[in-house]
């Protein structure tokens, strides 16, 4: 199958796009030039709104609308670029940061210009030390060429950008937790409203946008809203980078038009290993409910996946074949949420630990029918009872695989062991 034409991933793997000269030769900063020289900030924001671009960080909120919530009261406002990628199965932002940082910087400047921001922050996941170094060098190069700093390209627009590296905490990808962390506090999500657009960083109006989202802004400005809106479903348009991993032959990032059937995405990633059969897949990271063989024709986009009671999330597409034990997969993911709960909300903190312990027991062959019964109903007391989406992410995968493979869970109780005896099964 032919790869769809890449947008953000164009040149990655062939060119050193972190080098300013190379980036400029490939049309780098043309979008910025067009925005600042030819367009008013309002016109830039209008184009982004008209494109129907939806945030690529996980929530899928329309970017133009998010920007429009900023109050027009003359107060200082901030833009924060969210590069705290930590959703299990997602590795696109790290690739963008390391392989095409200037493109992200360009999208960031255009976006900051559109919303009247003079101070932006880039929040980079603590583990991405190498990525933060690459990005820092790229930012310095952009400053040398006057793409960042005072009077950008001779205009009266000025922007300063500060890089801030985190220190290890999944929850800091949630936008209000990220703002707390940027203020030097524990990364605990805030009660909303007020939303960051009204009271964000240092209490001032703030927009938090994902790395990939900002990247697409550059291309929307260069090629126009109609170009973007015409790709994929009308309400969920554009290309999207899907991170495909797990039991496929060619794991990697694939930039595809939204709406592509799950089956085609798996084919792009080389398909399954010889002799294997698909068992389950997560379309949108650890937080998303699993889908199965019978769902392979579902479109990979925000609304089609929501209709299947799962989500696109940040695009972490994880494939599990028939050698994967669903109880062990669930153990891994419930342990993840237990570890990453910030601890503010009781259902997430206590419920998360409880669920992880029960699933771990089951996986070890030490679980009981009572564990299965409790796991079947506990969803009602954990989901929807927390300040932020982390608590709501504990149960979807577990519940979906328990419903689909009840016998596999039951067998762990009756046989006091895993019936699959998975061991290095995924290694080709």
């Amino acid at each position: 199958m032919a790869q769809p034409e890449p947008v953000l991933m164009k040149g990655i793997g062939e060119l050193d796009l972190a080098d300013m000269d190379v980036y400029l030769r490939t049309g780098g900063f043309e979008g910025l030039r067009k925005a600042i020289v030819e367009m008013t900030p309002e016109a830039v924001a209008e184009v982004v709104s008209a494109s129907n671009l939806r945030g690529r960080g996980g929530a899928g909120f329309p970017t133009g609308r998010k920007w429009s919530f900023l109050p027009k009261d003359g107060r200082q406002r901030y833009l924060v670029c969210n590069c705290d990628e930590a959703e299990p199965g997602t590795f696109k932002d790290r690739m963008l940061l390391e392989r095409t940082p200037l493109q992200i910087i360009e999208g960031l400047i255009i976006s900051a210009y559109a919303i009247g921001v003079k101070q932006a922050y880039v929040y980079i996941r603590g583990e991405f030390l190498e990525g933060s170094r690459i990005f820092r060098r790229a930012l310095a190069a952009a400053r040398d060429r006057n793409f960042v700093g005072a009077n950008i390209l001779g205009s009266d627009y000025s922007l300063d950008v500060v890089i801030h590296r985190g220190a290890g905490a999944y929850i800091c990808g949630e936008e209000t937790a990220q703002l707390e962390s940027l203020e030097g506090k524990r990364g605990e999500p805030r009660l909303k409203p007020p939303f960051p657009a009204i009271a964000g960083l240092y209490g001032l109006p703030t927009v938090v946008n994902n790395v990939e989202t900002l990247g697409y802004v550059k291309h929307i400005i260069e090629r126009g809203a109609a170009w973007f809106a015409a790709i994929g479903p009308a309400k969920s348009p554009g290309p999207k980078i899907m991170s495909v991993s797990g039991n496929v032959r060619k794991p990697g990032n694939y930039e595809v038009p939204l709406g592509i059937p799950a089956r085609e995405l798996i084919d792009l990633a080389g398909g399954l290993l010889p002799g294997r059969r698909l068992k389950a897949f997560q379309p949108g990271g650890a937080s998303s409910a699993a889908l199965f063989e019978e769902d392979l024709d579902v479109g990979i986009d925000f609304d089609s996946l929501a209709a299947k009671r799962t989500m696109l999330g940040s695009g972490g597409f994880v494939v599990m074949d028939d050698t994967a034990c669903m109880v062990r997969c669930a153990k891994t993911l419930t342990r993840f949420f237990e570890h990453e709960s910030c601890g503010q909300c009781t259902p997430c903190r206590e419920g998360g630990q409880w669920v992880a312990r029960m699933v771990s027991r089951l996986e070890a062959g030490e679980g009981s029918d009572e564990d299965l019964r409790v796991l079947g109903v506990i969803n009602n007391t954990i989901t929807g009872t927390n300040l932020c989406p982390l608590g709501d992410s504990i149960m979807p995968f577990l519940s979906s695989v328990m419903r689909r493979f009840p016998d596999e869970f039951k067998a762990h109780v009756t046989q006091h062991a895993c019936p699959l005896k998975q061991s290095m099964a995924g290694v080709a």
């Binding site: 299990p88 199965g89 590795f91 999944y170 794991p251 972490g316």
Partner: protein, 164 residues
């Protein structure tokens, strides 16, 4: 506070409208030099940010990449989440622990190695993966790990947790 630390602290504070935003960068800087967040670093941070040492400890305790006690010179953090698990990470982690002779969150008696099982490192396309002093290593097998271990033993390690 040493003059050098004060100078760096003031530089970091100047990046932000509010001093406390520099707390994590400052602790990262101190950890790069000391190997972990020492009691002195907590005092220094509190002084610079205008908050109490207790507040600094509470905030530092939230973040997994800030160590509150000394750890081995080689910090080995191996992914334990789903995509790595699907490609054999559970058995690989058992192998690594046997080779190092230490368990999760432990340092070796000679102070050389620290081992930790961590959540998804965003390198699922080249699973299983680990970070050694925040540097990525991909497509791991027992043999590949042995080769890395040999290299690490031969070279004097850089600071385990570089600040920038």
């Amino acid at each position: 506070m040493t003059p050098q630390r004060l100078a760096r602290g003031q530089e970091l504070v100047a990046r932000y409208p509010q001093a406390q935003s520099a707390l994590i960068p400052f602790l990262q800087y101190c950890q790069e030099q000391d190997g972990y967040v020492t009691a002195q670093a907590v005092e220094d941070a509190a002084e610079l940010m205008g908050i109490t040492p207790g507040e600094v400890e509470s905030i530092a305790s939230f973040y997994t990449l800030l160590f509150k006690e000394p750890v081995g010179k080689h910090v080995i953090q191996v992914c334990r989440t789903l995509s790595c698990m699907l490609r054999g990470a559970d058995d690989l982690r058992d192998y690594i622990k046997r080779r190092l002779g230490i368990g999760h969150l432990e340092s070796s008696a000679d102070g050389q190695f620290y081992y930790e099982e961590v959540e998804c490192l965003a390198a699922c396309d080249r699973a299983p993966c680990l970070q050694h002093n925040l540097e990525f290593h991909y497509d791991l097998t027992p043999a590949a790990f042995d080769a890395l271990l040999e290299q690490w033993r031969e070279n004097v390690p850089q600071p385990a947790m570089p600040a920038e």
